[in-house]
Amino acid sequence: MIYNIPYFAVVALILVGLYAVIFKRNLIKIVIGISLIESGVNLFLITLAYRQDSTAPIYHGSGSRIMSLPVPHALTLTSIVIGVAVTALMLSLIIHLYRHYGTLDARKIAEEEE
């Protein structure tokens, strides 16, 4: 149980993000929510990599020790870059929406005609 605390951090991050996405109307807050979910998932992946008393999977001088798993590190790296790309594109679209409608409220934008 005590060893599962990192997973509860994951759950907390994802739930906070999901809350923002579902219940908030402000577009920027929705983007923040998605970034939070993403951080949660990244944290989950990186948590899976850890082994008790392990070092980073990099050979540096002395012989073999316990090393943490390298694949989740690689997956997290990929996932972080994907997150950057998604966030950049979403923010660009928000800039356009704000310029066009003068508001960041998702519901007001939905009510507008064209």
Binding site: I14, V21, E38, V41, V71, V86, L93, H96, L97, A110
Partner: protein, 542 residues
């Protein structure tokens, strides 16, 4: 370099060629617009040719594997077998989806030549189109779950930017934003599920995972997350709201490829349920008296219920739309419902197919599977053709509102013919391809529950009514004064529509030929998960 070498490397090349084309487009664009357009069409044409080679080989000789950077698909060490490298595994289903994607891709780039001519930023537009095509092929061909996620994100990001192409219209930017929000949340669900599966089995390869899957509680949650995430991208009902906006506001040529991306998500659902979880899909959850509640039954019931709601909402919303493209988009929602209806009824009666170990496609479940898979390609072609017609009308008249149109048949003869064929095909009328697949779906769902089949038939007829109304108001009637100078669409657009129409008519005239040569291999491949696994594991199956 002989043909055999090309076929061996074609799974990698099908993805790499559009990618290289996309990276080269900024350079080619410096020379001139015409050279760039020709370059893009040649790139997609080369991809089409490679898909043709690969598909004909796969249909003839069975599953093909391509391992990136290595020689063997798996490594056996001690008692465990695992796949370290990413590999592409192409079976009948993958080849079938690749055919759909390549047809849509080539039609789209030919259509773009004239349709997008008057816009700025075309270098980036073509770059993104090629990236979208590459992402679609990557999703289709890959045999690795995380790789699937990466290509899922490529398609999401590229299509989001393309949906928002006309940035002066606020609504199209809004549609792009909605799309990226929904699809990135869906993709994160998928990534989370991948993490769960990795944590238990220490594998990312689909075949290795399918071999070792135990069906623990975590696996069930992962299945739920995977199906939910992919269904979000496929546009099934609770999450369908992005689809009409995105389809309706994007340029028609983008919509055509978006349909392909949506179908690819549907393929993902099929692959996950039948291959990844195929071993244990019929496992019993709970025993109540004599009847046992099985996993596939619950999953199937949920999917069928959602599919029925999707059909109803799609068709009813299509009835009240006044915007041409938006109306077709709702019809597309309905059509996706038909595909999921077939998939759901296959999952319900999955036990019949795998009974006695022989892959029986003649029973109701087999028919539903064939109908569903056949409907995937028919939906792509029919809805795609209607969107191209809508795009042609928009190009000539700058109108999308149905109230403003009228009498277009006199000026746009070919377009009218294409529209008639498209509407008959979508509504599932006898001489067209839509009839062949919908008939299979009706027959099979009737055996599951007659009411489902009746609802499906009624709403299909309603769909016909919708489009007949459109046909009447937009194409027939007196020539309007404001449309007196309207010309027929340019040649490149007519060619693209003609290609799709030709395929629709061929499929409609010879449905048996298509079913025997393309659909049945795909259907067999998707339910035959054991040979999918054995091919990767090199025959070391326990």
């Amino acid at each position: 370099m002989n043909l055999e070498t090309v076929i061996t490397h074609s799974p990698a090349l099908i993805v790499a060629v559009p990618l290289l084309g996309a990276f080269l487009t900024p350079f080619i664009g410096k020379i001139s617009d015409k050279v760039r357009n020709v370059f893009v069409i040649l790139t997609v044409g080369l991809t089409f040719f490679l898909v043709y080679l690969l598909a004909s080989d796969v249909f003839a000789n069975g599953i093909r594997i391509y391992v990136f950077g290595g020689d063997s698909s798996v490594i056996v060490s001690g008692e465990s077998t695992f796949a370290i490298r990413i590999l592409f595994e192409v079976d009948g289903m993958n080849a079938f989806m690749a055919i759909i994607a390549s047809i849509l891709a080539i039609a789209s780039v030919i259509y773009s030549w004239a349709y997008m001519k008057e816009n700025t930023g075309l270098d980036k537009f073509y770059t993104l189109i090629l990236l979208l095509i590459a992402g679609m092929f990557g999703m289709i061909l890959t045999g690795d779950l995380f790789n699937f996620f990466v290509f899922l994100e490529i398609t999401s990001i590229a299509s989001c930017a393309l949906i928002a192409f006309w940035t002066n219209k606020g609504k199209s930017v809004d549609a792009g934003f909605k799309y990226i929000v929904i699809s990135s949340i869906g993709a994160l669900f998928v990534l989370f599920a991948i993490g769960i599966l990795y944590s238990q089995y220490n594998a990312l390869n689909m075949a290795v995972l399918a071999n070792s899957i135990q069906y623990t509680f975590l696996d069930k949650i992962a299945l739920g997350l995977l199906v939910a995430g992919l269904a979000m991208k496929a546009g099934i009902v609770p999450m369908h709201m992005w689809l009409p906006d995105a389809y309706g506001k994007a340029p028609s040529t983008v919509t055509l490829i978006l349909i392909g991306a949506t179908q690819t998500s549907i393929y993902g659902v099929l692959r996950v349920t039948f291959t990844l979880y195929g071993n244990q899909l019929t496992s019993t959850l709970k025993q109540i008296g004599n009847t046992s509640v099985t996993m596939n039954w619950i999953l199937g019931i949920i999917i069928v219920a959602l599919a029925l709601i999707t059909i109803v909402i799609g068709v009813l919303m299509a009835l009240k739309q006044t915007d041409f493209k938006r109306m077709i988009a709702f019809a597309a929602v309905g059509e996706i419902g038909y595909i999921f209806l077939a998939i759901g009824s296959v999952i319900i009666s999955y036990g019949q197919i795998i009974a006695n170990g022989n892959m029986d496609l003649t029973g109701p479940a087999g028919m539903a599977l064939q109908g569903g898979i056949f409907h995937i390609i028919n939906d792509a072609l029919d809805i795609g053709l209607l969107f191209l017609v809508a795009g042609a009308i928009y190009y000539s008249t700058k109108q999308t509102s149905l109230n403003e149109m009228g009498g277009l048949a006199r000026n746009m003869k070919y377009t009218t013919v294409f529209f008639i064929i498209g509407l008959l095909a979508v509504a599932g009328m006898p001489p067209m391809n839509g009839f062949a697949s919908k008939l299979l779906i009706y027959q099979s769902t009737y055996l599951v529950n007659p009411i489902i089949a009746i609802v499906a038939i009624v709403f299909s007829i309603l769909l016909l009514a919708v489009f007949v109304k459109v046909f009447h108001s937009a194409f027939l009637g007196p020539k309007l004064q404001k449309f007196k100078d309207v010309k027929e669409a340019p040649k490149s657009m007519l060619i693209a529509m003609g290609v799709i129409t030709f395929i629709i008519i061929v499929f409609g005239l010879f449905p048996n030929l298509v079913v025997e040569n393309i659909i049945q291999p795909a259907a067999k491949a998707i339910i035959d998960h054991s040979s999918y696994i054995t091919t990767v594991m090199g025959g070391v199956l326990p």
